[in-house]
Every structure is written in C-alpha cells, then in structure tokens.
C-alpha cells in the first residue's frame, strides 16, 4: 500500500480511536491490522493466521509440558517451516510453486517464482521469541486467542518490525490506552519524518541504485551509487518505515522500540550494529547469541576467544541468511563477524575519551566498510558485485543517473543534520507551536518533493 494512503487511513483511525470503549479499540486494532495485511495480498492472510495460531497453541503446550525440550523444538521447527518454504526452499532445493500463492515478480523480494509473504521473517521471529520466553518462564502462555492475534498482527510494525517482545507489546495493546494529548503532535512529527526519509530520499536514490546495477559497463560513480548510495537508501527506507511505525503506534497510545539510533555516527562496527536494526540484534542476542555462546564456551573448554569467535561467526551467518538465502548474504554475515572480532582483538576502547578526529575517522571507516558489505545484500550475484568493486579503480564515471540530485542532496543533508543532533544531544522537547509548525512543513515537503513513483519498502523483501 502506498505510504501516503496508509498514513491517511491511520490518521482517520487515530481520530476515532480515543472515543471508543476499550473492547472496541481492541477490535479496531485487530481488524485494521488484518485489513492492511489483506490489502497487500489476500493470499498472505492465511500464512499470518497460521503462524499466529501455531505459536498460540505452541505456547499453551510448551507451558504445560515445559520440561520437554523436544516439544519446544517441534514448535520452533513448525514456526520456521513457512519461512523456510517461502524464503529458502526454492533457492536451496529447487523449483516448486506453493499452491494458492500467486507467482509474482520480485516486487516484494520473492526469490525465483515464489512470492514471499511480506513481513514473514519479522512476525515469525516475534512468534519464536514468545515461544522461547514461555519455555524459559519469562512469560506465561497466553490463553486468549484475540489478545495473541493482536500481538502478532499489530499493523504499524507487522511488515518490517520493530520485532517486539510479547511481554511489553501485548500488555500495552490489550490495555488499549488512550493516546496522551501531549504525545499526538510528536507522534505525527515522527511519522512524517519517517515518510520524508522514505519518499524524499529512499525512493529517489533507489532509482539510481537500480540503474547502477542494470548498467552493462560500470564506472566509479556507479560503484559509489551501488554501495554508499544503497546504504543511504536502505537506512532512509528502513529507518523511515520504523519511524512511521513508532509514530503510528504512539497515535494509538503504544510505545514501540526505536529501531535505529544514529548508526552512521558509530565510531566502529560493533557500535554500528548496536545502533542499526536494534530490535533484531537484541532478538538475536537474547535467543541465539547468548545460548550459543554458553554452548560454545562449554565445547571449547572455556577458551573465551575461540568460543566468542565461533559464536560470532555462526550468529552473523544466521543474520546474513535472515536477510536472504544466497551466498552473498552468507558472505555479508561472515564479513561482519570477522571485522567485529578483529575490532575486539584490538581491546576495549572508550569513545568518550577519543579526540574528535579519531571519532570522525572511525565513523568514516565504519561507513565505508558498511557500504561495501551492504552491496552484498543488494547485488544480484557475486560476479556483478566483483564488477562493482573493481569499478572503484576505474576513471570512467559510469552511467548511473542522478535522479533530481539537488533535492536528493538537500534531503540527505537534512537527514544527516538530524542524525547528528540526535546523536550528540538528548532529543529536544519542542514547544507545541514548533512541533505543529514542523508538522506543516514536513507535510508540504513530502507532498511536493516525495519521489513520483512510490516503491515498496526495501526491508519488506527480508
């Protein structure tokens, strides 16, 4: 769905929502969530419902027979089955088409002929987190199916996160709080800033990135567009989506995790991944990194370096595979793991004690590394990627067009200024008059300078 339309509907819903009784609010949220999802593709609906019901039943069963690890494993495998079938099967095991699912182009990032249900990775991880939490007794199993369905399908974060924990999100959703009067302005401002990132920067730079990958012969400008350009695109797009999600949720009185904390102002790669897609890295940390780390520790007879390195490589390969099923994604993950282990080998650092030039150099090096490796999750194959890297050495500029470059550059400068301010200062508390003036300004900017042809969010494909 076009983000403008979704926001328009959301605002209308948000106007009615505070007037409703608590039961009606829950029903409105659940209905709207499923309706938004069905609007994208009706055939996706059974997958969402199936994963949700499986996790619901799985939670009850796991709570009842908590000592049985096998039962938990069975349900985890069951929850992962749709993800494997839709996202990985065709690439790994060969061609087949699932019955009842329309075969489509790559619009939503389907690989080959299978169309991946949008958001499948995100809500599967949310379901897995719940199941493991029940197994660990962190939460009690939910016995109210409506409450659980709402947790799984809450529309602002359904398609591309943030991946929320059951404990925090479900309680908020079920209590259906009245949105605070004072928070409406900031919520709309966050939402519109997300839309600005998506439509003014992400969509516009995305055209140039696509063209760079289509070029038969590439030059250095194509290579820069395909790597650094893609990094900015994916940030503008994904952070944009996350902000729209956070702002939308606040309109309904719900607080979501802030998924990005100025990642481009990280002094090294370790810090970058603490600031990028925070809900996923936390999820991986809680449910994979720490349990696996303990296992590796035991297996390596307490050798910390070996245990850490092996854990890091396995976890990052999984992170790579979460983004996609092919070899470039695996290499992407492995490179992150190797680079982070190398940074850890250098010993602890204290960014607060560093001189500004060293921080700046670290930020630049991090951005360069991230840009080069992010190319791996965008490239159609490794040969194209190798061609892009070798193009850095050429003198020819290449053919990638700059789409409305002045608007794009102004947009990127605004984005970096905002990121810079929020990185080094606490978020300012704006007076209401400033907030509403900024809302009006951002509204007009996105209407006038959003890119003509809206594109689906990049992270929908993951």
């Amino acid at each position: 769905m076009d983000p403008h339309l979704q926001i328009a509907i959301t605002l209308c819903l948000a106007a009615i929502y505070p007037l409703l009784h608590i039961h009606l609010r829950r029903i409105v949220l659940l209905t709207a969530s499923y309706a938004f999802y069905a609007f994208i593709n009706f055939a996706f609906l059974p997958i969402l419902a199936g994963v949700s019901v499986s996790a619901f039943l799985g939670g009850i069963a796991v709570e009842r027979w908590r000592k049985s690890n096998i039962l938990t494993t069975v349900f985890i495998v069951l929850l992962l089955t749709p993800l494997v079938l839709y996202k990985y099967w065709e690439t790994w095991f060969g061609s087949f088409v699932l019955p009842g699912i329309p075969v489509s182009s790559l619009q939503f990032g389907g690989y080959g002929s299978v169309l991946i249900p949008v958001g499948l990775s995100f809500y599967t991880f949310q379901a897995l987190g719940y199941l493991i939490d029940v197994h660990r007794k962190t939460v009690s199993a939910e016995h109210n199916i409506l409450r659980f369905l709402l947790y799984m399908a809450f529309f602002p974060q359904l398609l591309a996160g943030p991946i929320e924990r059951y404990k925090s999100l479900s309680r908020q959703l079920w209590s259906a709080p009245t949105p605070e009067f004072e928070k409406i302005g900031p919520a709309v401002l966050i939402l519109l800033y997300g839309l600005f990132l998506k439509t003014v920067i992400g969509d516009r730079i995305g055209v140039a990135v696509d063209e760079a990958y289509l070029a038969s012969t590439v030059g250095w400008r194509d290579a820069v567009t395909a790597t650094a350009g893609f990094t900015i695109q994916i940030f503008a797009d994904f952070a944009g989506y996350s902000l729209i999600a956070v702002g939308t949720a606040q309109l309904f009185g719900i607080d979501l995790t802030n998924n990005f904390k100025q990642p481009f102002f990280s002094h090294n790669l370790v810090e970058f991944w603490q600031r990028w897609h925070i809900s996923l890295t936390r999820w991986i940390g809680d449910y994979l990194y720490r349990p696996l780390g303990r296992l590796m520790w035991r297996m390596s007879d307490g050798h910390r370096m070996i245990a850490e390195s092996l854990t890091s490589i396995v976890v990052w390969v999984v992170m790579g595979l979460w983004h996609g099923p092919t070899l470039p994604f695996v290499i992407f993950g492995a490179l992150q793991a190797i680079a982070m282990q190398a940074i850890r080998l250098l010993g602890p650092d204290r960014p607060a004690m560093m001189p500004p030039w060293r921080l700046g150099l670290g930020m630049l090096a991090t951005f360069l590394f991230i840009s080069v490796t992010f190319g791996l999750i965008r490239t159609p194959d490794l040969v194209t990627y190798a061609g892009m890297l070798s193009a850095f050495m050429t003198l020819a500029p290449g053919k990638a067009p700059a789409v409305e470059p002045t608007i794009l550059i102004i947009g990127i400068i605004i984005m970096f200024i905002v990121e810079f301010i929020f990185r080094f200062r606490p978020p300012p508390r704006l007076p209401p008059s400033y907030t509403f003036a900024l809302i009006g300004l951002l509204f007009i900017i996105t209407v006038l300078f959003g890119y003509d042809q809206s594109r689906s969010f990049v992270y929908f494909r993951f």
């Binding site: 769905m1 007037l19 409406i184 002045t406 608007i407 009006g440 006038l448 003509d452 809206s454």
Partner: protein, 319 residues
C-alpha cells in the same frame, strides 16, 4: 474476551480532547494543502517552471515536444524562426500529446514539432514513464479536454488520495532542479555515452502492431484541439544511429496509424524522411552522443535539415 483489569479501564477511558486534536490536525493539514496549492498555482503560471511561460517569454512560433531524443535533437538557435524546445527526459508519447493540447493556449504558436522516440511509440499508459506527465500536471489540469484523463496515469496505489498541491510535485522538482530553462540543450547533463553498431531485428512482427488502446482517447482529444486551433503539427521520428525507418518494421504501421488518427489536422508528416542528406547525418558517429541522442553538432545539423524539409514539404505562413 476477558474483562480488562482496573488499570486498563483507567488508562483507556474515552478522550474527546485527543480525538478533537487529531481531527483538528487533519483539518489543518488539508487547509495547508489548499493554501499551498493556490500559492503554487500563481507561482507556476509566472515562472520558468511552466513550459507555457517559456513559450510566452520567447514569443515562440515553433515548439518542440517529445522525449529526451527530441530534447537533444533540436537546437533552437538553428531554427529559422523563434523556437522553444520543451521536450523532456524520460517522457512517453503521452507527454507530447498533453503538451500539444496545452499549447493551444499560446496563440503565437503556429507549429508544434512532435519528436517521436524511434523505439518507443507503442507504449501507452502501462509504461511506468507515463506517470511523468504529472510533471506538467498544473497545465494539464487547466485543459478540460484532458484533465480527467490525467487521473488515469496516477499510480493505482495513490488513487484514493487527492491533495490539491500534489499536482505541483513535478513542477516543484523542476524549480529546484532548474530543468525548465529555455536554453540550448544541456548536453553536459547527458550521462556518458557512446555509439554502437545497432543489432537490427528485421523479422516482420507476427501481429500488426497497433497504438496502445489507452492512448486512443488522448489522440482523439488532440485531434479535436488541433483542428480548432489550426496549429500545424509536424511529426518526426528522431534520428537513431545507422537506423532508417525500414530497419524497424514494427514501427511503420504504428506511424501510419498515428497519421490516420490525425487526419483532418494540419499535419506535416516527416516520419519517412530518407533523403541522402538524412542518411549521411545518421551515418556520422560524430553527430551522436549515443545511439539515440544527438550531440550539439548533430542537433544543429538535424534542426536545419528539418527546417528545410518543413519548408519544402509543408510550407506555411509561420516563417
């Protein structure tokens, strides 16, 4: 459904204040949209972002419309009378039709040259570039004949939203990017290119190609408007390196159909130009930036060639 706990009931009590604030916010945003649209409408009509303003400023009698191939093919200073080239990058034939209709509001314009992309006559509203006609949306909205048709190029996902300032999106970009200047074609803005020996597919098409049905209604409106305005329409297919019309057998029926659909209009059909002079122009690689875009030198030569051809084939009182 279980009963809510007391805390939930407390935090969930209905709030008229919050609801009213959201409603007021929506109303304010809509008002801002309307006011902005009014201001932009005034600014657009008086700025170089409007192609019509350029035409008026130059007091032009001849206007070129079309895609990037036409933009780089016609060099206004090489034309014997006042010419303005308002062809734009990345447009489809739909843009040419829309612009030709809008030019009826410029009484000085006696001749409209439509430069047709040598490889892109068949595309209709299904072409993703068709949406770019929104770059001249403020003009199109003032043409009752085609205003309603503009809505059909709006991406389906955006259809339900109707913001008044939305139509200025393309022109606001142009103001910022300074695209709308009436100046010699900005050849420097062309991406790096080179000519290649074209690989020709001369197999006749299995089915007779037809103009895309979605364009029929637009052509009908163009036909009516041109008959009423009496402006001359010059049809040319912009040059392609080493390609003549007969090299592209599927294009010929399309051009014939186009000419037939415009019967009764003061038409100058130069789509079948194959003189020795033209052949020598398309065989010289120095005239081409890449296979379909001319260099400045090529554009000067081509513009003079078309001027002579118009003079000899379709003389009129324009000069």
């Amino acid at each position: 459904m279980t009963n809510p706990d007391p805390l939930s009931t407390f935090v969930s009590r209905p709030s008229w204040h919050t609801s009213a604030l959201v409603m007021a916010l929506i109303a304010c945003l809509l008002a801002i949209d309307r006011v902005t649209a009014l201001m932009l409408d005034f600014a657009y009509a008086h700025s170089g972002a409007s192609p019509l303003a350029q035409v008026r400023a130059a007091n032009a009698d001849t206007v070129v419309v079309g895609t990037s191939t036409a933009k780089y093919a016609f060099f206004p200073k090489s034309w014997p009378s006042q010419m303005v080239n308002i062809a734009q990058d990345g447009q489809t034939v739909l843009f040419s039709i829309g612009m030709a209709v809008a030019l009826r509001d410029s009484p000085n314009v006696k001749r409209i040259i439509v430069g047709i992309d040598p490889y892109d006559l068949r595309s209709g509203l299904d072409n993703p570039s068709a949406v770019r006609i929104w770059r001249i949306a403020p003009l199109i909205y003032k043409q009752p004949e085609i205003a309603s048709l503009l809505e059909r190029t709006r991406p389906a996902t955006q259809a339900p939203i109707s913001l008044a300032s939305w139509r200025f999106r393309g022109s606001a970009h142009k103001v910022i990017e300074r695209i709308g200047r009436n100046a010699p074609p900005p050849y420097r803005s062309l991406p790096q290119g080179e000519v290649e020996i074209p690989v020709l597919d001369r197999t006749p098409p299995k089915q007779k190609p037809r103009i895309h049905p979605s364009l029929h209604e637009y052509l009908l409106r163009l036909h009516d408007v041109l008959i009423a305005s009496g402006q001359q329409l010059v049809l040319v297919v912009t040059p392609a390196y080493l390609n003549l019309r007969w090299d592209l057998p599927d294009q010929t029926p399309l051009l014939d159909e186009l000419v037939a659909r415009l019967s009764g209009v003061k038409l100058c059909d130069l789509t079948k130009l194959e003189t020795e002079q033209y052949k020598s122009l398309i065989r010289d690689p120095e005239n081409f930036h890449d296979n379909i875009h001319l260099t400045r030198k090529g554009a000067k030569r081509y513009t003079k060639f078309i001027a002579r051809s118009v003079e000899s084939s379709c003389p009129s009182s324009v000069h």
